[in-house]
């Protein structure tokens, strides 16, 4: 009796499994919305105004979350525009101190370390509006107020997706409100050139810089420590950038492998020849002091003495 029901049941369940995990699979190619997005965004918002940068004053983080969410929920996830985040921007906006703007391409982790959480520079990720969204992913769906945790469209699938439009809007605002000396950090080892076109800096930031508020543009081109030197000041894509900015009327300077940034890159490669510091004691003297001092120091003394005798013998 049981067997009569077994095979059809098995057949049906296999069919169902196929439709879940087979070729149809997920709606989009990108990763789904980050889990616990609401708690993370609200938490980051309060973290920023209470701890990271209280100078921006009081903000209503619940309202900010609502404005953020309303930009993209209940809509076709391929129809989100930068303007949809306007209310979010209005609620999170704060001024960027002059001379602290740091633009970048292809070196986000480096920039985060270099900016030192807003203390040295204030990159977009160090503003309240950038801070709440950094490294997160999100999208909604048409005809439903829910977030899609399964998958989200990549920019290749459609440009006007929630995350892409978010960063486009923020790039525009960040550029519009930058002033004084602005810095641009480019990766001289990036395939395709240090100044990518199309790119956020090229398409959303440069066109929105306010010429009357900017005194100088400083470009830093830094190669990876082990990386190829594909681009540098005055060459290829960097030359294109310099020419464009100069034509727009900016006072532009460019430096290859600025020392400060080099030191940061050296952290992952401290023994590389490019990273040798003059003040470090030469290896023979530097020898760490170790705890079985009796043993190894005596050995060292003996070896040194023996070496000295040997050389002495050779010379004479």
């Amino acid at each position: 009796m049981m067997m009569n029901h077994f095979f059809p049941l098995l057949f049906v369940s296999v069919l169902c499994m196929n439709s879940f995990t087979g070729v149809q699979g997920k709606k989009w190619k990108g990763e789904g919305t980050t889990q616990n997005l609401e708690s993370i965004v609200i938490g980051r918002c309060y973290d920023y105004i209470r701890i990271v940068n209280p100078s921006v004053g009081e903000k209503n983080c619940s309202q900010i979350w609502e404005a953020f969410k309303n930009a993209f929920i209940n809509k076709d996830p391929c129809s989100i525009l930068p303007e949809d985040y306007e209310l979010f921007i209005n609620l999170t906006f704060h001024t960027i101190p002059p001379n602290k703007s740091l633009f970048w391409e292809n070196n986000q982790l480096l920039v985060n370390s270099f900016a030192d959480r807003g203390r040295r520079y204030m990159s977009l990720g160090d503003t309240l509006f950038g801070f709440v969204g950094d490294f997160l992913n999100w999208c909604g769906q048409a005809d439903s107020p829910g977030l899609d945790y399964e998958s989200c469209p990549t920019t290749t699938e459609c440009e006007n997706n929630a995350v892409e439009s978010f960063w486009r809007m923020l790039s525009i605002i960040y550029a519009k409100h930058s002033s004084g000396v602005i810095h641009v950090l480019l990766n001289g080892s990036a395939a395709g050139g240090a100044y990518p076109q199309p790119g956020f800096f090229a398409d959303y930031e440069i066109p929105n810089l306010q010429k009357d508020k900017i005194s100088q543009i400083v470009i830093w081109v830094v190669d990876d420590i082990e990386g190829p030197d594909i681009d540098s000041c005055g060459a290829h894509s960097v030359k294109t950038l310099e020419t464009r900015l100069t034509a727009l009327g900016y006072d532009v300077t460019c430096t290859d492998n600025d020392k400060s940034v080099m030191f940061l890159l050296c952290l992952d490669n401290p023994d590389h020849s490019k990273c040798a510091i003059a003040s470090s004691a030469p290896a023979a003297q530097r020898g760490p002091i170790s705890s079985d001092r009796g043993g190894s120091w005596n050995k060292l003394m003996f070896v040194s003495f023996a070496g000295f005798l040997f050389r002495f013998a050779l010379v004479y």
Binding site: N36, S39, G43, D47, R50, L267, P270, I289
Partner: protein, 261 residues
């Protein structure tokens, strides 16, 4: 509400702690996905709410410690004393090491403050006790316990970053490192202790590996059967110091292979 000398509980403490917990387990450490952030927040709150903030005990924090603790990979523990700024810039740039503030517990609690009060609403947002007002305050008890557990969890080679530019000495018995952490390292799990003695670039060279307080530290550790290596101005960290002092003579880069190697 009782009145104290230190800053009060951080406003929106719940949102900040919850957000940090989810941020840590979702965005940064997905292997901890089974942690229940809501329960973790509740256990932190229960540790101090409605209690007199001078009567906090380790038992109050036991549920939180159990819910939030997680294993630390061997050879990655990085202790520190009087080098807070530098050590955290280092671990942010180099994921090979973890300070207490890079673990879930430390990450949630870093730079925030909290204390309770017997009267409603049970949390004091105006002020909290300073250590010299009473030792058994919520913050001191928390960090002492968390530090003890962090030391107990360490295995393999452990590292410690000390400050060779402070007048009072790089190693102090009164610090958390000197009074709690070194005594809770487990000699059956920890094989070596590497000391990185960092001096400020262009700063006073108050102490080096051969200094008095370091010798004291070494003898305490040797007595517990640890092998110790001490290095003055450990190079990778010095490179980080040079990021913000690139033109100082101590940061001159060797060029054209003239280094004596």
């Amino acid at each position: 509400m009782l009145k104290w000398k230190d800053r009060g509980t951080t406003k929106n403490l719940q949102e900040v702690v919850l957000g940090r917990c989810y941020n840590y387990i979702t965005a940064q450490h997905p292997e901890l996905g089974d942690k229940d952030c809501l329960k973790i927040w509740e256990s932190l709150k229960d540790a101090f709410i409605y209690k007199n903030p001078c009567n906090i005990t380790p038992e109050d924090y036991q549920p939180l410690m159990e819910l939030a603790s997680h294993p630390i990979p061997c050879n990655k523990s990085l202790f520190w004393s009087k080098t807070g700024d530098l050590v955290h810039r280092y671990t942010k740039s180099n994921q090979n090491f973890l300070t207490l503030e890079d673990t879930l517990l430390g990450y949630m609690a870093d730079r925030i403050s909290w204390c309770g009060d017997p009267s409603a609403p049970g949390i004091n947002y105006e002020s909290c006790p300073k250590r010299n007002e009473c030792e058994s305050n919520p913050s001191s008890v928390f960090w002492k316990m968390a530090s003890k557990m962090f030391a107990e969890a360490a295995c393999g080679v452990v590292q410690v970053m000390l400050n060779g530019s402070v007048e009072a000495g790089a190693f102090r018995s009164s610090s958390i490192f000197g009074s709690v952490e070194i005594f809770n390292l487990n000699p059956d799990k920890v094989s070596e202790v590497h000391i990185w003695l960092m001096q400020d670039i262009g700063g006073p060279q108050s102490e080096s590996c051969s200094g008095h307080s370091i010798q004291r530290l070494i003898s305490i550790l040797e007595e517990r059967n640890f092998k110790i290596i001490c290095e003055d101005n450990y190079r990778p960290v010095q490179l980080l110091q040079c990021v913000h002092n690139p033109d100082h003579t101590d940061c001159r880069l060797c060029t054209n292979s003239t280094a004596i190697l």
